[in-house]
Symmetry: D2
Subunit: 294 residues, 4 copies
Amino acid sequence: MKIGFIGIGAMGAGIVRNLIKAGHDVTVWDRFREPVDELATLGASIASSLAEAAQHGVVLSMLAHDEAIQGLLLDTGWLDQVKKPLLHVNLSTISVRFARKLAELHAEAGVDYVGAPVFGRPDAAHAGTLNLVVGGAAVFVVRLQPVFEAISKKVWHVGERPYQANLVKIAGNMMIASAIEAMAEATALGTAHDIDRNTMLDVYLEALFPCGVYRGYGEFIRRRQYEPVGFKLPLGLKDVRLALEAGESARVPLPLAGVVRDSLLQAMANGYEDKDWSSLAEMSYSRAGIASDR
Amino acid sequence: MKIGFIGIGAMGAGIVRNLIKAGHDVTVWDRFREPVDELATLGASIASSLAEAAQHGVVLSMLAHDEAIQGLLLDTGWLDQVKKPLLHVNLSTISVRFARKLAELHAEAGVDYVGAPVFGRPDAAHAGTLNLVVGGAAVFVVRLQPVFEAISKKVWHVGERPYQANLVKIAGNMMIASAIEAMAEATALGTAHDIDRNTMLDVYLEALFPCGVYRGYGEFIRRRQYEPVGFKLPLGLKDVRLALEAGESARVPLPLAGVVRDSLLQAMANGYEDKDWSSLAEMSYSRAGIASDR
Amino acid sequence: MKIGFIGIGAMGAGIVRNLIKAGHDVTVWDRFREPVDELATLGASIASSLAEAAQHGVVLSMLAHDEAIQGLLLDTGWLDQVKKPLLHVNLSTISVRFARKLAELHAEAGVDYVGAPVFGRPDAAHAGTLNLVVGGAAVFVVRLQPVFEAISKKVWHVGERPYQANLVKIAGNMMIASAIEAMAEATALGTAHDIDRNTMLDVYLEALFPCGVYRGYGEFIRRRQYEPVGFKLPLGLKDVRLALEAGESARVPLPLAGVVRDSLLQAMANGYEDKDWSSLAEMSYSRAGIASDR
Amino acid sequence: MKIGFIGIGAMGAGIVRNLIKAGHDVTVWDRFREPVDELATLGASIASSLAEAAQHGVVLSMLAHDEAIQGLLLDTGWLDQVKKPLLHVNLSTISVRFARKLAELHAEAGVDYVGAPVFGRPDAAHAGTLNLVVGGAAVFVVRLQPVFEAISKKVWHVGERPYQANLVKIAGNMMIASAIEAMAEATALGTAHDIDRNTMLDVYLEALFPCGVYRGYGEFIRRRQYEPVGFKLPLGLKDVRLALEAGESARVPLPLAGVVRDSLLQAMANGYEDKDWSSLAEMSYSRAGIASDR
């Protein structure tokens, strides 16, 4: 299939590789030259403009946040001037509010639209093992199947409306943050009671929570080292804030998300903004007066 | 091995069966006649007194809480009058404070003591697939190996001091409660945004948290039916309170445990005291004004 | 002094009356005809346009929120086209973020700008007993003294930058919300222990907190009747959200504000959106299972 | 009136002075010699035993906490052996659970009992300006009027049952802690936004909360100096814990108390256990990364 792709960061690069590997004909666009050149060596075409990236009927985009999309795809007039028919698949994690607005604006512009945020980090994007959460009309999901198959291990069609996928993604990240906070509080409690943190984590990660999220972030906490970064702390804070914001718009109190938000903010205020978001564990230790060498 | 066993509830009964099955010679005691009679048909001897249950050098006990142990084993003078040498293995989930006190009292009485609370419900006790968290001197753990092997799938020796096992158990239950609360908040948020709860849970339980705790309690939340009970809500509240109490004694703030405590209390105040503790999810729904038929 | 005034709601009307009473020459503008006509009978001139309201060198505005100001004063081009020199005194409670932006935009447009939100409800506006919190250059505060004296009982100059006044106001409302929540939790606790709520409040409002905020909102809680409304619940939620947002931008965790936010959201979801914000007390009662007739 | 008095700490000493000043004939007992000797110079008789202090029909006690009362008045057999008729007025701040138990034990022993905790610190005890919160039968309150008048500025009879007074006291302290936390969060927010803390407090303490609790603790926060101590931090933590415990026994969630508890625990873990409890404000500053010299 001929596909355009906008936004070649670590995630986008991995995804495009898998599209090419599956035989798709991909035209890529990015603000920067280097990442697109690299994909060109694998067979991608380079679009000289955003419009060119969208000329083949299907375009995927993977941009950092609401503001990036606003700036690139709306404020530039791209959406209104793009060649139709076009199906736009937005892989970015964005707010529910903006997702609703994007759906409206695409409808007004006569552009078909699907929200398809992913669970998985760059390594999963590269390996083609993302979980793809899709919101949009079933007809589009069927049509996109060869694309989705190339880049993910599983497609979750969670509703007819694009924003629904974004909400499932955001709420999922809120759950991950809660899992990290739970490990933090439990091990802070244990450490303060002279129990070896490694031993505790061994028990919890095998006997209670033998799943990737706990195991992955548990390793950071085990070592109390939060690099190399899996998911940067400010991004985690952003997603928890998006969950709280979505809660506010639908009148859903989220006390646990509130707790996590405060730990993440404390981390931001105390020098962890370049660390993995599991470093919020250090806030539990700091509040409990646990020395950094325990 | 000749073993005494005190306290034949649903958990104790399952454990004793596995001891017998493994060839141990078990003498059982309980306040009630029926459960011990049943075990007698499988080959257990019935002790006519607490002292008799402890005459063979090793005695296991599985009682409901601090107060039950205080009443049966301390206030009666049992501990001071028991035949020595004796090794007492306490399988109950008790407070850290009481666990420390029990260790002291056993030492004073010249009775060896091991704390060995379990992760797993009656079905796991019956199947012999408990996770056994053990605190005590290594020499006892070695000696008890044939006993532990008969009743558990894995033994976690978490420290030399008995209370450490109790803390690991309590903190683990706090983590489970947090996982339930996280599923509750996420699905309340989704439901309020017109997303199907089943679909959300499908994503989370397979893509993010494919492990027993989430899957088991997720099923209750999926159906919004909290029976048959896996772990009764007031017991869950007790364990979260024990975590907060342990936090207080070691000066460890536990905001997430505080949130869960309040949800559990709300559930107690609103008619859920006979339900599974995953019914705390209903509190998230109620606070968000989500009707009971959604 | 010749003064323009934009926005004649319940607050604005009371303030303009006091300006007229003090001998100022006021030109008023509002979307609606009725409130300005009423002030005209007291001697106010009616502006036929927003520009006309700002032609005398000083203009005060009292609008509902960020969006209203954005719509009326920015999107219309008013700020850029207004006759200069002009000093704009913004009495509205707005977000810190928007307050910063307004200060920049005024500077770019060459319009002097002061932020001056008020503590006090319409009755205080009418009585001229508002507390005025002012952020801006001292020279403006001096110049505005005759205006401020006419409408307030006290002027608090909290800093040179306009947003600082908005932050002091927002944080103050957060404190008021916390005071309400504290009365709610204390009386819920007492009621559940069969103590008369009136008696409790008598003790607290005289022995501990003999000040207007507690007394005023305590009366609502005493009667468990939340009308007539003093400050509408959604406005209270807005201000608490603005506090949390200001906390987020400066990396300040605000756990107490988070608790209040969740109670206010619960109230929104359960039918209290037209009530006084002290009705958040009912959430404490509801969570504790306290019947509505106690 | 002839009165016994047990427990001559800073509070008790002030109270006994006022009893003597009002013409009462007071027999005092304390573990330590010095404080009773001092009162003897003012005219008090010294009891050589606890029993002797209770021989005149009315005895007041002011002890530190549940454990002190348990040790002195229960475990010693005092209550069972005391000369009757006796009316015991317990001025201590104790838990609701223990207050209920004490009422039962007094009834069983045939000793009349009134709970009468106070609001006010040693200076108010000395000045006779305590607020006395009384739980007990009206007939006792009438009889004790000359005693109560001598030591307080106001008597609040909150219910027929002694524990009710203790609950009103505990919940009141929880409200005070919340007020401190609110000042802490508001000023942390302001400080992080470059607003002078003194200015903020000026506004809040005059325009919003012109009452003693805010003003007194506001002064500590203003200076960020928490000595000399008004109410020691661990005592504050104790009372908040008693509120949470009372909430748990009556199934009342208390999220705000939970937040304050965690701040107090953090303070305990980070070196503030000898400071005034308003030093919990420092936790807000620390979490927000605000330097100690701002």
